[in-house]
């Protein structure tokens, strides 16, 4: 098991290398001379030349790439053009809110979507099933910002149950932290909940046809034990897979959600960096997100072995 995880980590290296290559090329794919871009509109030709040399942009591409990777491996993601702060510092400051938002959304999704999918499969074809699946289509079709503004209007402005926007670190108490995250998490989770509920229903429908479910019923088990132990554990692998793939949805959605609810997280940083053409920051964030995504999928492969004893590495 441990050797498998190690092998998988080694196997992610080429993936990360390719991602890094793309991220690095950003600077070159973007229209215009990177040095000119970095120097800004009011720079003199001498300024541009100075920047070119200081960034090593006059050296061959592969050498530049190599030294960039070398620096990253040593924990140096470069320096922001706009703030002159190290990119790693800037990311570090913004990591907390985004991580909080993603974790709360993930938990909310699993707690809501999986039982909904199970019930829909159990009552397949009934009114309950149709209502749940109707909501799923609805949730899937609405953009995050529409849901976000709707929720903020109803629950924050009209009912005044929850704050409109902002973020409070966990260090200042659990409820203040959670209070600010509920609406963003619901908005961000909508699509995700719809997706997971659908895949749970589809997988459960198939599992419920299996012989061992008939055996479980013949043993006198109650409906709950059959659905949530005998069936759900068998349906877990596809569900966990989609939860993992869905993390990508969350990352994309977080950018928009953070803007809607004014959460000072990585999503906001990303947008700011793009607007300012702050390439080192963009590179750092994209690299981080890719790394997280690869890591999550590795975790999911490990979870497989926990839910299905037939999967061994």
């Amino acid at each position: 098991m441990l050797s498998y995880i190690l092998r998988r980590i080694v196997a992610t290296l080429p993936v990360m290398a390719i991602v890094a290559l793309f991220v690095f090329s950003l600077l070159y794919i973007a229209p215009g001379d990177p040095a000119v871009v970095i120097a800004g509109d009011q720079a003199s030709p001498e300024d541009v030349e100075r920047i070119r040399q200081s960034l090593g942009l006059d050296r061959p591409f592969l050498i530049q790439f190599g030294s960039w990777v070398w620096r990253i491996l040593h924990g140096d993601l470069g320096t922001s053009i706009f703030t002159n702060l190290p990119v790693s510092t800037m990311i570090g400051q913004r990591l907390g809110p985004t991580l909080s938002l993603m974790i709360v959304t993930l938990l909310l999704t699993i707690v809501v979507a999986v039982p909904l999918g199970v019930v829909a499969a159990w009552k397949a074809g009934s009114l309950i099933d149709r209502v749940i699946m109707g909501f799923a289509v609805f949730g899937f079709s609405l953009p995050v910002f529409v849901v976000g503004y709707m929720l903020a209007y109803i629950f924050a402005l009209e009912l005044e149950w929850l704050p409109v926007q902002g973020y409070t670190p966990l260090a200042q108490g659990f409820w203040p932290w959670l209070e600010n995250l509920i609406l963003p998490a619901v908005a961000l989770g909508c699509v995700y909940i719809a997706l997971i509920a659908r895949i749970t229903r589809a997988t459960m429908l198939e599992v419920l046809q299996q012989d061992y479910i008939r055996t479980a019923r013949a043993k006198g088990l109650g409906q709950g034990g059959i659905l949530f132990v005998h069936a759900l554990k068998n349906a877990a692998v596809p569900i966990v897979t989609v939860i993992g793939i869905g993390i990508a949805l969350l990352i994309g959605g977080a950018v928009v959600t953070e803007s809607v609810f004014a959460i000072p997280g990585l999503g906001r940083l990303t947008i700011d960096a793009i607007l300012r053409r702050d390439y080192p920051v963009i590179q750092g964030i994209v690299l981080l997100f890719s790394f997280v995504y690869v890591l999550v999928n590795l975790m999911i492969d490990v979870i497989y072995t926990l839910v299905d004893p037939r999967i061994r590495y």
Binding site: Q210, D211, Y212, R214, T215, A216, R217, A218, K219, G220, L221, G222, G225, V229, H230, K233, N234, A236, V307, D308, P309, R310
Partner: protein, 329 residues
């Protein structure tokens, strides 16, 4: 006294193309400790009958009517909760496919423990100890290790032994075995049959054995009920049925069994087949259900369904032309 009395059992399924009368008016009984075999070809309703006894038919589209009296109580009148208390406890079931009938993601021990914990109220430790005992009883070596294994780590025969352990864990009064040996190798089949007989005498359970394998019937059944197209067409003690089958369908079934070594002893004959197919159960059948495939059928058979008639002591058959009294087969 009869442990189980089934009266006019009708299990129908609503389908888009009409009502499928999978079981249509079947009555039979099983005495305590007795082994009754239900035989017939695929689609004759024998599995649906057994599933109906456990009320495992999904309703809708299925609908079960008639009466199923088990130890005096009509199972069809019980609530779901009362029925659950009977399943796996008083009546348990073994299925055909040991490969797919055990849950692949739960340990063998857990699957045996479950019934003990639900029905006997044992705690986890006691149930685990009993599970190990059951595995020993069904002849699984190293039960302490096996109890923690998953079904995919066991062979087909081993899995069927586990199924038997699950079924017998709560000392049921009735065991329904639906083609328990069909999916197994011949050598394993004999072992499993012997095991079932051993345990039956130890536990004292009655058995309903669903099968199309007449060799198995001869080996372990005391009484045989022959089903065709959702109805009972003949019933007799096993020796009597093999000696003098009355219904042409039963005669056809017995004639379709190959005899080992017959080509060597010079007694080889062409295997008798039963021509034609089982009638469509979604259409109403007038006359005898077997008339379409029967060599003896006349206009009488096609117009009037024969009732079950006692042709010899404890031997009933539904045929206008089946001889009464003793016949030489």
């Amino acid at each position: 006294m009869a442990l189980l009395e089934v009266e006019n059992l009708q299990t129908h399924f609503r389908t888009p193309s009409g009502i499928n009368r999978a079981v249509d008016g079947v009555s039979f009984h099983v005495n305590e400790g007795e082994t009754l075999a239900i035989v017939g070809e695929s689609g004759c309703g024998k599995s649906v009958t057994s599933m109906s006894l456990m009320r495992l038919i999904p309703e809708p589209p299925g609908r079960i009517a008639g009466a199923i009296r088990f130890a005096g109580r009509d199972l069809l009148k019980l609530s779901d909760r009362e029925m659950r208390a009977i399943r796996g406890n008083d009546i348990s079931m073994i299925f055909q496919e040991p490969m797919t009938s055990l849950n692949p993601v739960l340990t063998v021990g857990r699957q045996i423990r479950e019934t003990l914990m639900i029905h006997q109220g044992l705690d986890k430790q006691a149930a685990e100890a009993h599970a190990i005992e059951m595995l020993t009883l069904v002849g699984i070596p190293e039960p302490k290790r096996r109890v923690r294994e998953y079904p995919h780590q066991l062979s087909g025969g081993m899995r069927q032994r586990v199924m038997i352990a699950v079924a017998l864990a709560c000392n049921p009064k009735l065991l329904i075995a639906d083609e328990p040996t069909t999916a197994l190798d011949v050598t394993i089949q004999a072992q499993i049959l012997k095991l079932m007989l051993d345990l039956k005498s130890r536990v004292g359970a009655a058995i309903i054995l669903i099968t199309h394998d007449l060799g198995v019937v001869a080996e372990i059944a005391e009484r045989v009920m022959v089903m065709y197209a959702g109805r009972k067409v003949e019933e007799a003690p096993v020796a009597e049925l093999f000696r003098s089958p009355r219904h042409p369908y039963t005669q056809g079934l017995l004639g379709a069994v190959p005899r080992l070594g017959s080509s060597l002893t010079g007694t080889a004959r062409r295997l008798a087949e039963i021509p034609g197919q089982v009638p469509d159960l979604r259409k109403p059948i007038t006359g005898c259900v077997f008339a379409g495939r029967c060599a003896l059928a006349t206009d009488l058979c096609r117009q009037y369904a024969p009732g079950l008639e006692e042709k010899a002591p404890r031997h009933v058959a539904a045929c206008h032309y089946a001889a009464k009294g003793a016949v030489a087969a």
